[in-house]
Structure formats: C-alpha cells, structure tokens
C-alpha cells in the first residue's frame, strides 16, 4: 500500500511592474458591479535572481529592473546593504546620492508630464499630436528630460542603467569642469521648471475630490528622497524596518503584480503623497510659487499629481544646484566595505513613490534573500479605488469611448510603470440594465 504524496509548491512572485495592463469594468445601471485593473506581465523574478549573488553585484543588477528609475533601485539597495554591513558612507556621499536622485526625478517627471500625461489634459491622443499646437511645451519637456539624464550620467557614467553607484558611495566623483558645466545647464533648466509649475497649474484639470491615505518617507530636515521614517496622512510614523508589520503585500488573482495595503486599506505613494505630507520641507521660494498657482496642498484631487510632479521637478533642480555649489570633489568617492551576515532595509522615494528593499546576507555578503516592494504595485489598489470613484463622478451613462478615455487618464495620472502605460488600456466593458 502506498501513502498518498502531497506536494505543495509555493512560488513567490515578486518584482514585476513593467508590463501590460487591462481594465475589466462591469456596469449595472448606475453602479459599477466590478472593476479590475489587470497587470498580466509575466513575473520577472528579480528577487530570485539576486539570491546567491555577491553584495557588490546588487546595485548594477537592480538598476536593470527599471529603465526609468534605476537610481531609485540602486539607492534603496545600497542603503539596505550598508545597514547590513554597518557602514556610514558619510555626509559627502550622502549629498552626492541626493544629487544622483535629483537627476532621476527631473528626467522621470519631465517625461511623464510632457509626453505621457499632458496630452490627456490638452485634448490630444499623443504627444506627437500635441506638439503641433504646443511645440514650445514639448521642446521644454525634452530639454528637461535631457537635463535629468545628463545629471544621472554625471555620477552614473551613463543615464540608462547607470553603473556609477556602489555600496559605500560611487566609483568616481565628477571633475570641477563637469560640475561647472552641469551648474550652467541647471540654471537654464530652473527657468523651464518655474514656467512648468505655472503651466501645469493652469491646465484644465478635472475637479475630483476624494479621500485617500497618503504615504511617504519623511525626514525632519529635508524633502524626502533617500532616507527618513515612513509616515502617512492617517498618523503612521514608523522606522522603515517596521514596514512588514503595517503593510501587507498580497496576490490578487487577476494580476501578476502584487497589491499592497496599509492596515487593510489602499494607499497612495508618489509625488502627490509626498507633497501632501512634506509641504513644509520645500524651500520658501517654491512654497510661494505654489501659492501663486492657487492650488492648495495637501490636496484631495488626484489630478493635482501633475502639478506636484512639476513642483518636485523644480525642487530637484534647485536642490541639485545647491549640492553642486557646495560640492567637495576631493573626497574619496566611497568608503571601504567589509561584508558580514545580517539583515538590512532601504526605503527611498522613486519618482513614482516609495521603493522598499530588504536584504538578508551570509557572512561573505552573498544575498540569501531579497524583497523588493516597488511603488506601482503599492498604488494598484488605490488606482482601482480611484477609478471607481472617478468614473462614478464622471458619469457612468457616458459613451464607452468617453469612459475609456477618462479611465485611461485616471490610470496614467499615477505614472504607473507598466510597459505600455501610454495608451495601454484594453478596456472590456459590460453594460447591464439601463
């Protein structure tokens, strides 16, 4: 007699944010019966790829997760590994890292505002159509994006999947002439960015008041980028090491990207959440500029995200100028690293929201286990909640094409990192009743 063998296979499916998405929407009368934002990109399994790799390979590997926010992946990773190895890279490296991050915010925000989101708000299907009527604005977007890329390359050696960052600091620091050239470019970019803030605030943005929970990193002395505690608009205030005790990642059966919840509810990460929670950390000059726009933060209108992005872009340019004006290029680019076994955490603010990493290493510094929680998966549940509310406010009795466009606009507004986020939406709509 043979005993029945039971096998249970559990495959954790983790880092997978770039991909294809669809929206399934069922409307019954004037009610949304079901709504599902599906991401069906095959899992990318980066966390498993990292297992067994050496600590020094991690920054270059995680940079490949995303073509638009590689700096964020590198920064969360190096902070986590430095915590494992009990390394303090010092104030100079910390400032260079802030500069590196500014480059990513500038290029990512410029790209999203001008090429992805703006056509929605000025009545065009694409940036190529929009450029006919708004050539100066599109040129501005391309200039700002190039500026951000140049800033990333200054420390990363190249703007795509940069290779300049390492655990302990950077492989090299810029030269004096590189710093001088970059400062001149930033000065010109600052003018563009100031105009951009006013331009985004002047767009005909839908008025869509919603209640939502904002979550971001928060630092007592600076607008959050590379370090701080995790805070929410509902009173959460925890060290990043306690993320797992409050946030839960779970698998929705229709999505290959994990959803995330905070105390069982959806939450928002990204520029609007950051500005809602950290307005007072912005310089007085930028706060005055915001006041001039007539838009108040904290804001409950998700469509103010484009304005928040523009404000952050301006902030990143000014912050980069400050860092470069005070830069010490004589210091060692990195501190020595002695690997050891342990667990470490890193949480930084990617352009589209907080990016949390956890690494466990053995005594040689090889990765035993990695966990990466990217911003788009954190925003998934919030996007669905927003779609429900926003479509209801918009009017469910509208033509299918109008509903589709509005739904696409809502989703794009989050700057999701899904590989066809520009017009990615395949909407399957079922209408029942009247």
């Amino acid at each position: 007699m043979t005993e029945e063998r039971q096998v249970r296979i559990k495959v954790p499916v983790l880092a997978r944010v770039e991909g294809e998405g669809a929206l399934d929407l069922s409307i019954n009368g004037n009610e949304i019966e079901s709504l599902r934002l599906r991401i069906y990109e095959p899992p990318r399994l980066f966390e498993k790829f990292l297992e067994g790799r050496a600590w020094h390979e991690v920054p270059d590997m995680v940079a490949r997760i995303c073509g638009i926010c590689p700096v964020a992946y590198q920064m969360s990773a190096v902070h986590a590994l430095e915590q494992v190895f009990d390394i303090d890279p010092g104030p100079s490296v910390r400032r260079w890292r802030r500069l590196f991050y500014c480059g990513e915010w500038i290029q990512s925000h410029a790209l999203h505002i001008h090429l992805l989101a703006a056509p929605d708000f000025v009545g065009f299907n694409s940036v190529t159509e929009m450029a006919g009527q708004y050539p100066d604005e599109v040129r501005r977007g391309l200039r700002l994006q190039a500026l951000g890329n140049d800033l990333i390359a200054l420390l990363g050696a190249r703007s795509v999947h940069p290779v300049g960052a390492c655990v302990g600091g950077f492989h090299r620091l810029p030269t004096a002439s590189e710093v001088e050239t970059m400062l001149a470019s930033l000065q010109a970019g600052r003018r563009d960015a100031r105009e951009l803030v006013a331009w985004t605030a002047g767009l005909d943005l839908p008025d869509d008041d919603q209640a939502f929970c904002s979550v971001s990193v928060s630092h007592p002395d600076e607008y959050p980028m590379n370090e701080g505690r995790l805070v929410s608009s509902e009173g959460l205030d925890i060290p990043i090491e306690e993320f797992d005790q409050h946030f839960e990642e779970f698998q929705a059966p229709y999505s290959t990207a994990l959803h995330a919840s905070l105390h069982d509810g959806p939450y928002l990460v990204g520029p609007l959440a950051r500005i809602n929670l950290n307005l007072e950390r912005l310089p007085a000059g930028i706060r005055a500029l915001i006041e001039d726009t007539g838009i108040s933060f904290p804001s409950r209108n998700m469509f103010h995200s484009i304005v928040a992005r523009a404000v952050e872009l301006l902030y990143a340019i000014e912050e980069a100028m400050t860092v470069l004006e005070e830069a010490d290029i004589s210091g060692p680019p990195h501190v020595p690293v002695v690997p050891r076994a342990g667990v470490g955490f890193g949480c930084t603010e990617a352009p589209r929201g907080l990016l949390w990493h956890r690494y466990e290493t053995d005594d040689k510094g090889h990765i035993v286990k990695a966990q990466i929680v990217p911003p788009t998966s954190q925003n998934q549940a919030r996007i669905e909640a927003d779609l429900r509310a926003s479509l209801q406010t918009f009017g469910l009795d509208r033509e299918e094409s109008a509903l589709r466009l509005h739904a696409e606009t809502v989703i794009r507004n989050y700057d999701p990192c899904i590989s066809c986020a520009t017009h990615f939406l395949r909407m399957n709509m079922e209408r029942k009743g009247k």
């Binding site: 992805l116 190529t128 450029a131 050539p135 190039a146 703007s159 795509v160 520009t422």
Partner: protein, 157 residues
C-alpha cells in the same frame, strides 16, 4: 554642430546595442576622413525622445537602430511607415516612430532622415561583433547616395 549626424539608437545591452556598435564602427572607419572636416559627427541615442534635439540644425541625419531580422543583414526602414504606426509599446516615453514624427514639428528646418536597421536576433538577445561587421558594407552602401547628394548641395557641384 555638424551638418551630417550619424546616430546609433539603442542601449548598452544585448541586441539593443547593435545600432550603437555600427555607428561606433563607422566612426572608427575611413568614412569621417573622406568628408570635409567638420561635416560629420557621431552620437548615441538612448531614449528616442532625444532624437529631435540630436538632429536639430543638421541637414542629413542617418539613424541606425536594431531591428528584428537575420543577424548581419541590413534593412532600409521607411520612416513614413514608422511614423504612421499608432500603436505604442513603450512605458517610458516615445518610440522611434513617434520621435521621427516630432522632428518636423519641433525643428525649424527638418533634416533629411535616413533610417537604417541592422538585424538582430531578438529572441537570443545577443549581439556579436562578427554580425555587426557583416552589416558594415551594406550600411555604407545605403549611406552613399544621401551623403553624395548632401555634398552636391553643400558644395553646389
């Protein structure tokens, strides 16, 4: 700013680097010396959105990008076909087709654009120098007429 620009499109990785490698090989070849000094420059394009800026002010832009085709082969791409495509597959910006459509809108005097595709095995994902070198004679052939016409116009001969 040179009147002729040869631009490799791609990234430093795998098959996607084919355009960069071909442009780099052309830069190291006898080609630049054959042209009057200051006529031609070479660059790499990572994000297609950079293209309008990279070609602004030039007369002839020769773009080289990887395409899905037999490795070592060369395809002259009809840029009109690309710009007419409506479907977008890029998360993070715009593709080559859209960038080409933006050039006449965003540049005061749009240059002549020649788009050359070099075949890569997208499934394999690799790019060998042997395949790159095999493309060079045909790439040079495709560049010959546009360069000759540019020189005739520029020198009035």
């Amino acid at each position: 700013m040179t009147p002729v620009r040869i631009i490799g499109i791609g990234s430093p990785h795998g098959a996607d680097q084919a355009g960069w490698l071909v442009a780099d090989a052309l830069q190291r070849s006898a080609l630049p010396a054959r042209l009057p000094a200051g006529t031609v420059s070479f660059s790499q394009c990572v994000f297609p959105a950079q293209l309008p800026q990279l070609v602004a002010g030039c007369d002839l832009a020769i773009l080289i990008d990887a395409v899905r085709a037999e490795p070592g082969t060369v395809v002259e791409v009809d840029s009109g076909d690309l710009t007419r495509r409506k479907e977008l597959h890029s998360t993070h910006g715009i593709g080559v087709g859209e960038a080409l459509a933006l050039i006449p809108v965003l540049t005061d005097q749009p240059p002549r654009v020649v788009l050359i595709g070099v075949g890569v095995d997208a499934e394999d994902g690799a790019c060998s120098m042997e395949d790159v070198n095999r493309t060079l004679p045909r790439v040079r052939e495709l560049m010959e007429a546009p360069l000759r016409e540019f020189l005739q116009t520029a020198t009035g001969t």
